[in-house]
């Protein structure tokens, strides 16, 4: 397992380098620049701004400057928000996005695993069909519909919960977490059902039952360990996806997370911010994929032997 870990970490370095290099040159290819605005700036002002941000240097010089900055842990200043560095902005947005992702994944796990296991145990009954139908709806209904719908019911009609904000009003974290969690709960429910069904037919489960263990013990102690491996494998990319892809929920609920910075940076041509967030998210994806692979290896005795 240690060897796998070292190998994967070493593989991550060229991956991140390639991501940084490609992003650097690709964003410069996109038409428009960070200082283009409806009220155009004069050529003199543009010249001054390009000098201030070193955009008048050659591409290669800018690239080497930027890469040597990254090595020192400096992602440069934001073009859109003067006075703020990209590192600072990631530092502000990340804990919020991370907190949202954790709540969402917890909600997703509790609902998803419960529904999936129940459906597998009560196969071909109403307790199988109903959770799976709801899961299918969860997969199909996008968050941009689910979010406003929940807001309309719980925020505006029932007046139970705030409709937007994060940590400003009591209960304002509930609706965004549920909205984001519900979509992932649906996937997890289907994955757990599939995994459990496969495991429940195996010999070692029959043996456990033959030994006289209660059905609850059989499910919790034996079946779930193997049955939930697909869910664990899904968790890594899911958390990475939640971190990078919570833009929609962050926008609907006015959450100051990293997802909004990421998308807005691209629209604003905030070069350093685009680069900083892309490299950061790539590192996150690599890291969480590695983590989930290691967890799956650890859970699955067969893989453990092979490794």
């Amino acid at each position: 397992m240690f060897k796998v870990f070292i190998k994967r970490v070493l593989m991550a370095i060229p991956v991140l380098l390639a991501v940084a290099t490609m992003t650097f040159f690709l964003i410069k290819l996109a038409p428009g620049g960070p200082f283009d605005a409806e009220k155009a700036v004069s050529p003199q002002v543009l010249k001054n701004l390009n000098e201030v941000y070193n955009l008048d240097a050659s591409q290669w010089e800018q690239y080497t400057d930027y890469m040597s900055g990254i090595v020192r842990g400096d992602f440069g200043p934001s073009f859109k928000y003067p006075g703020r560095s990209v590192t600072e902005m990631i530092g502000i947005g990340l804990p919020i996005t991370f907190e949202l992702a954790i709540y969402a994944i917890l909600i997703a796990l509790v609902i998803g695993v419960f529904a999936g296991v129940l459906a597998a145990l009560k196969r071909n009954t109403l307790l199988d069909f109903i959770p799976m139908a709801i899961a299918m709806i969860g997969i199909c209904v996008p968050t941009f519909l689910m979010g406003p719908l929940l807001v309309l019911i719980f925020g505006i009609n029932l007046e139970w919960l705030p409709v937007a904000g994060w940590g400003q009003l009591a209960g304002d974290k509930i609706l965004p977490s549920v909205t984001l969690g519900f979509a992932y709960a649906a996937y997890i429910a289907r994955l757990s059902r599939g995994g459990m069904l496969e495991v429940l037919n195996q010999d070692f489960i029959r043996t456990a039952r033959a030994k006289g263990l209660s059905e609850t013990m059989v499910v919790i102690k034996h079946a779930m360990q193997g049955g939930l491996i697909p869910v664990v494998s899904f968790l890594g990319p899911a958390i990475a996806g939640l971190l990078a892809g919570s833009f929609v929920v962050e926008t609907i609920f006015q959450i100051p997370g990293l997802g909004r910075f990421y998308v807005e940076a691209a629209l604003n041509r905030d070069y350093t911010m685009i680069l900083g967030t892309t490299i950061f998210f790539s590192a996150m994806i690599v890291f969480f994929n590695l983590l989930s692979d290691l967890a799956a290896l650890w859970l699955n005795p067969r893989s453990r032997d092979v490794s």
Binding site: P31, V41, V52, G83, R84, P162, V163, A164, P256
Partner: protein, 535 residues
Amino acid sequence: MKNLYIAFAVVIFISACSSSVSPVDDGLDKQIFHFGNGSEPQGIDPHIVTGVPEHHLLISLCEGLTSSNPNGGQNLPGAAESWDISEDGTVYTFYLQKNGKWSNGDALTANDFAWSWQRLLTPSLGSQYPDMLYYVKGASDFHNGITDNFNDVGVEVVDDYTFRVHLNNSTPFFLGLLSHYSTWPVHKETVLKHGTIDDRNGQWTRPGNFVCNGPFNLKSWELNSRIVVEKNPLYWDANVVKLNEIHYYPVQNVMTEDRMFRAGQLHLTSTLPSQKCPVYIEENNPDLRVDPYMGTYFYRLNTKNPVLTDVRVRKALAFAIDRKKLVEKVTKCGQIPAYSFTPPGSAGYEPDTEIPFDPELAKQLLVEAGYGPGNEFPKLEILFNTNEDHRKLALAIQQMWQQNLGVDIVLVNQDWKVYLAREMIGDFQVSRAGWIGDYEDPNTFLDTLRPNRGNNKTGWENEDYDRLVEQANSENNQDVRYDLLRQAEKILIDEMPIIPLYTYVKSYQLSSDVKGYYPNYLDHHHPKYIYLERD
């Protein structure tokens, strides 16, 4: 039974979470104004930032020589308690408030203004609004590096409380320019403590560091979440200020902002989802406000494009648009059909132009331009940035041009920055555009279409037009000046490098508990006059 307990616990949890008093009601008791501010401000350095959300914030934190009139019209005293204008209109002498103070207690003096203007004009600062001061003698030369001696600029510190400005020409709208935040002062010692005069990334604007001279102080700034300002007891006119705090929320999504208002989280929204405006009008929503706004929505025509070089073609396109129908059936929020570039009534200026809706005349003009059977009019592209409202309007115009002129129209929508880049290099035929006045004077519109102005973008140049606008800017007599501008505007509409479509309105929601918030053409609302009182 167990399930019942769980359900009960969830209901109790949710009920406990819901606060009984909404922020709006709570704000009413504590004089805290919850302000929907559109998007996250770039910053609060008045010499660097650009944009409307930044203006909303800066108007509470800093103050220029004059301040915006809450009812629109002539500016009121700000950091200057009074001013004299020389007979020829080229020398302005400002007398500063004797009790004017920075928020750290330092006296606000004429030197502060001189240093601040020097900073704005310093090329290496990279300010985007130095041209606001180009009317001052020597300012343009200093900014363009022709001279590096600021003494050559027409700014004079007579004494601590007297600040004199020498202009190139009589500039009747100069006082109006001073309500733009780029001309406002910054605290020299604070700026220099955290950087140099030309440091764009200095930390002096952070809470705890920030010092300015407005009615409110910066209390906290949670990025992308909320900015809080609190009443400044050292402000020279602090007795007038009734609000204790303003909370600015950068809510970019208009639907979210609308929901926040409905749920009692905001007193004011920055705008309104366009599809909701007609619904709220029909419902007689008491919180809906539709105010006049100094802005024009128009189509830019690329006069360098072979198809559009002929003025008859440009006129044909303009005459084939039914503007009344556009505002009644497409925009549907009280917009006014535009028959001039300058919105009528800008500082008392009434343009004297007409753009008829006359499909027959339009067709005839196309025939005169050589198009007809055997020489079909080529396909024409309308460029717009991705936005549902722009798309709807473009679709309506596409239909009008196809129906009234038989012209094939292709709609091209592009990402914002691509659209701007294409406009800038002239890679378009027709493109949608909007222009909002920086100050209340027709010059803020008509100046943009002079040759060599970066915002012209049509390739159109007209010597007579340029001469008339230039002449008007040096004319002190208002009637004569407006007459010159009307002549210029007539040339513009006659040559039609742009097709005005409608005059903007400012649509938003405002709680009836908010008082002292009056409609005005520039949408400048000085927070020192705003207060909250149960309706």
